[in-house]
């Protein structure tokens, strides 16, 4: 008896928390399907009996969400690929090769973790101007094309490979590039996937930097685009929210598909201490 009461109580708590967590998202969806007047109407509508879908197409074209999303996808995918490439290469060198100054260089990679991008925006902004990259993709991508975390996590992962696998490949005459491609990459798919998701999300969610280095709609990412959208009239809130949902949707999908890698990526550095 007592356990069933406790179980019921547990469900009650779970449901209440779930409602609280979901509520803002739910209302955002509801209001995106109402007209501006309906949103302002009191008492408020909590369930849209006659959903209006045109807010989404308006957000897409009139709110430039289509352009913003395209920019975000291009920037995030390229940033992820670039960060992955530079991190895999550096991690391989640190894990499998001996060379002078190796430890110092690795410490420098770790030191970058102590320097948040926010601290260096002022000179970086000037660098972008000097390079003529204002309002371009390189400005959004290149500064994040290397990752201290990526190098660290991948090196840790690479080092877990038994030394004998490398020895066997050396004896068989496999060079480093072939060993990297044939053995190291396939055997570290999990960590590479986790880091890729992490890099993609970090890039996708950037706000301050894209705000600084772009000012044209054609090169604004979707996060900064939401800022433009927010400035619409109060009676256009349905468009604002439709745009917000469009901005969040890709990430919901990615997280739904790659749940396991994500949890791994997020917790790799944390739980293992």
């Amino acid at each position: 008896m007592r356990t069933s009461v406790r179980t019921a109580l547990r469900y009650v708590f779970l449901i209440i928390i779930a409602l609280v967590v979901l509520f803002p998202i739910y209302i955002a969806v509801v209001n995106s399907l109402l007209s501006g007047q309906q949103i302002a109407h009191r008492p408020p509508t909590l369930f849209p009996l006659h959903p209006l879908w045109n807010s989404f197409s308006l957000a897409w074209s009139f709110g430039h969400l289509g352009t913003y999303l395209r920019t975000s996808v291009i920037v995030s995918v390229l940033t992820t690929l670039a960060a992955l490439t530079t991190s895999v290469l550096a991690a391989y060198a640190f894990a499998f090769l001996e060379f002078p100054l190796k430890r110092i260089m690795f410490s420098l990679c770790l030191a970058t973790l102590m320097v948040p991008a926010e601290v260096t925006i002022i000179p970086n902004f000037r660098t972008i101007q000097i390079l003529g990259w204002y309002n371009t993709y390189p400005a959004l991508i290149i500064p994040f094309a290397a990752s201290g975390i990526g190098i660290f996590l991948l090196r840790q992962s690479f080092r877990q490979l038994p030394r004998e696998l490398h020895d066997a490949a050396v004896l068989d005459g496999y060079g480093h590039w072939r060993f990297l491609v044939r053995v190291v990459l396939p055997l570290n798919r999990a960590m590479i996937g986790a880091f890729a998701i992490f890099a993609f999300l970090s890039s996708w969610n950037q706000y301050l930097w894209p705000l600084l280095v772009t000012n044209s709609d054609s090169h604004r990412t979707v996060q900064v685009g939401l800022r433009q959208l927010e400035g619409l009239n109060p009676d256009q809130q349905n468009i604002v929210l439709a745009g917000t949902i469009l901005a969040a949707l890709p990430i919901f999908l990615i997280l739904f598909i790659f749940q396991r890698q994500l949890v791994r990526g997020l917790t790799a550095g944390a739980v293992k201490g």
Binding site: E164, D167, A168, A169, L171, D172, G173, R178, V183, P186
Partner: protein, 340 residues
Amino acid sequence: MASTAISLESVNKRYGSTVALDSLNLQVEPGEFFVLLGPSGCGKTTALRIVAGLETPTTGTVRIGDRVVNDIEPKDRDVAMVFQNYALYPHLTVRRNIEFPLRARRVSSHERERRVMEVAESLQLEDQLNRKPGQLSGGQRQRVALARAIVREPNVFVMDEPLSNLDARLRVEMRAELIDLHLKNGTTVLYVTHDQVEAMTMGDRIAILKDGVLQQVGTPKDVYDRPANTFVAGFIGNPPMNLMPGELLGEPGMIVGIRPENVFLDDNGSIETRVTLVESLGHEHHVACRLNYDNETIVFVRVPSTVSQVPGIGESIRLSITEPLYHFDSVTLERKAIKT
């Protein structure tokens, strides 16, 4: 003329302050099954890796055949290695694992297929070719590791405790298989183990290593019958040779050794003892007895199971001994080559 297959001349290897190998000299003859035996940490793996080229000796010369190979890349030494934990690529099928070295050598796909099939057949792996290592038993993985070495048709095999991860029964089976294989293709094998039984049953010759220092090289019979020092005497044979302080022809400062099989239960024997431990192995019993003489020294006796009366713990029994007795200098621990 190829005088030796592998030769190490005054090879030293240091890791920081650790001396892993101390002026090691070894000559392995062509076609020989040569065993490097010693306790864990004595430098066996280091020696193998130096032969394979995975480590460079701090000083000394390594030859394979007539070539000095110190400056030769591992891949150009024509040495295939079998690793203790197999070193199979978990993401590749058995077939891809076996042909891995051939792909590196750009062997034609036709030739590759032929050689893989041939090796797989000889190791009974035909049915496993499309599986991944994770789906195989320990014995099968071991075979794949061997196959990957054999398929290269190398001049020399080096094997680092290849059987140590198998259970006792499989180990005995694989021992026989390895010897079989060696007899069939006659390639030189440098084989590392810490298991003296493995060494004694498989090796044409055995080199015993301790703390990076070579103790003795010889045939199994040599090292058993004429151990160079107390370490070899104690390391080879189970139970180990009984060693006790004693004298030789009135000269003190000696250690006297006697193998347990040369000690007998004998009601008329002159040695009075008390039994402290009995281990029954089925085919024989190992009986540990404490000498009444000093109430301290323990002597092991090997008692065949044909003996009906096995003594119990605490029982007083008498022992007698036969030749040979061994004598070791108690300072240098070297055996005195005096016939008794």
